[in-house]
């Protein structure tokens, strides 16, 4: 699934590189002919901007997937019976949970090398890849904490019942504890996904060609006319709203349903 997401990113990123240069061309055209209405400008650039938006979604999905997997591991680390594992996992969770996302993004951008060499193979690490890592860090920390909270919210009787039935600790966690945590974690996890999706525009600050970067480029290409500012950025906002609002609705519905049942 991650591999698929990364492939998608690669494709979008590659396809978008020439497109990223494209806005430079129409500048002369825009200055010679009569200024277009904001609506036609938005419509003209919508395909490019939507491509950028897909890039945002791909980054969010990939970092959510990566962050969820690592976060579950970190969360299990937090409840480890080995004291040092628990302490270390707790520390990483708290550290990444209490750092601004932008800081973590910078951190990933500048700490991860632009390529790695394993033997004779050199793998380039493009910016979008680093951005995925950067966003996966807060996801990881939040998922870790969600898992710990969900586990703690289960009655201790669940552990005791499993223990008295001769389950090992590992069996108890996998067969009895985690399945019950999924339901509890799902709504806040979806919330987290919405937040990370909206945060992906931060990647524009470090030069990843996502929707906001493209919006700025388009705006500049259209001569930076002030009356285009609202429509162009409004379109970006609308895209995020149209994507995140249904998720938020679904989250609320799930929350209500789970609350009634348990």
């Amino acid at each position: 699934m991650i591999a698929f997401a990364i492939l998608m990113v690669a494709q979008v990123a590659n396809g978008q590189a020439p497109a990223g240069d494209a806005p430079a061309a129409p500048v002369s055209e825009a200055t010679t002919t009569a200024p277009a209405t904001p609506l036609t400008v938005v419509l003209k650039w919508a395909p490019l901007l939507l491509k950028g938006f897909i890039f945002n979604i791909v980054i969010s999905v990939a970092s959510m997937a990566l962050g969820t997997i690592t976060g579950l591991l970190l969360g299990l680390g937090q409840i480890s019976q080995r004291k040092w594992v628990a302490k270390l996992s707790w520390f990483f969770t708290q550290f990444f949970r209490n750092s601004p996302w932008l800081v973590l993004l910078f951190f990933a951008m500048f700490m991860i090398p632009f390529q790695i060499t394993i033997g004779s193979v050199t793998i380039p690490l493009p910016d979008w890849f680093k951005a995925i890592i950067g966003f996966s860090l807060p996801v990881m920390a939040n998922v870790s904490e969600l898992l710990r909270g969900a586990i703690r919210s289960l009655p201790s009787g669940q552990w005791e019942a499993a223990e008295s039935l001769a389950f090992t600790r590992t069996q108890t966690i996998w067969k009895i504890i985690l399945p019950q945590c999924v339901k509890r974690m799902l709504p806040p996890w979806m919330n987290l996904y919405s937040l990370i999706t909206m945060a992906t525009v931060l990647a524009s600050i470090v030069g990843v060609g996502e929707m906001l970067t493209l919006t700025a480029q388009v705006h500049a290409a259209e001569g930076g006319r002030p009356e285009l500012f609202a429509p162009l950025y409004g379109f970006a906002g609308l895209c995020f709203f149209a994507y995140c609002w249904p998720i938020s609705k679904l989250t609320q519905r799930l929350e209500r349903r789970f609350n009634v049942k348990t």
Binding site: G157, E160, A161, L165, P179, K261, T262
Partner: protein, 257 residues
């Protein structure tokens, strides 16, 4: 005979006590909960443990399946010493079933799945065979027709009977019951007690912590009365109820009957 430290115990034979509790002490931090309790339980006996709240009844039976470690003294279950750092707790727990006051069913599994879980995951038994046995066990506790209900869809009494079936599915030699009817409505208490009584009559070794005096009198072979971490007295039920020796027992029975 073998030294008490020996890890490999002499094979247990049914004429020996199945559980032997000797001078067991248990502290939580500096708080002493058990202050030297002893008892012998023979195979097939039904033992009731009664006593005021906080006297250590739950702690005592939790020591018997190593849910709680004892601080001092000795408990052997089929000659296996429980107070042994090398104890194979899982092996012990396969022999000793436990039912709790709060049922503690797994809410994400149906009644049938609850019963099947331990044999499949712990004993790695064949699923088909386990399923057949689970159906039989649910029938035994009179829950035929409820196999596919989740715990949340069952009454307290029904849940508790699923919990009993779940424990029995491991084919234990001993069953521990910790106030299993204390959370139930008066009407549903009976259906659970009937199930336990049948078990006892079939020869299952049962240890029950209970406040059901009538049940204790009818079903128990022996009654232990605990107070403040010690066993104050123990006797067969008639003697215990009709002729209690200790002042504390008389006070307790006076309050409760």
């Amino acid at each position: 005979m073998a030294a008490p430290q020996a890890t490999s115990a002499p094979a247990w034979t049914p004429d020996q006590p199945i559980i032997r509790v000797k001078d067991v002490h248990k502290s939580f931090g500096s708080f002493q909960v058990l202050k030297g309790m002893s008892m012998d339980v023979k195979k097939g006996e039904a033992i009731c443990i009664i006593g005021p709240s906080g006297s250590g009844k739950s702690t005592l039976i939790r020591c018997m399946n190593a849910l709680v470690d004892i601080t001092e003294g000795s408990i052997t279950v089929e000659n296996q010493e429980v107070n042994d750092p090398n104890l194979d707790k899982l092996k012990l727990r396969r022999k000793v079933g436990m039912v709790f006051q709060q049922y503690n069913l797994f809410p994400h599994k149906t009644a049938l799945q609850n019963v099947m879980m331990a044999p499949i995951n712990v004993l790695k038994q064949d699923k088909k065979e386990v399923e057949e046995r689970a159906h039989a066990l649910l029938k035994k506790v009179r829950l035929t027709g409820k196999e596919n209900n989740y715990p949340g869809e069952l009454s307290g009494g029904q849940q508790q009977r699923v919990a009993i079936a779940r424990s029995l599915a491991m084919r234990p030699d001993i069953m521990l019951f910790d106030e299993v009817t204390a959370a139930l409505d008066p009407e549903t208490v009976k259906e659970v007690l009937v199930t336990i009584r049948e078990l006892a009559e079939e020869g299952m070794t049962c240890l029950l912590v209970t406040h059901e005096m009538k049940f204790a009198r009818d079903v128990a072979d022996h009654i232990y009365f605990t107070d403040k971490g010690v066993i104050v007295e123990h006797a067969p039920p008639e003697e215990f109820f009709d002729n209690p020796k200790d002042e504390r027992t008389r006070t307790f029975l006076g309050q409760i009957l």
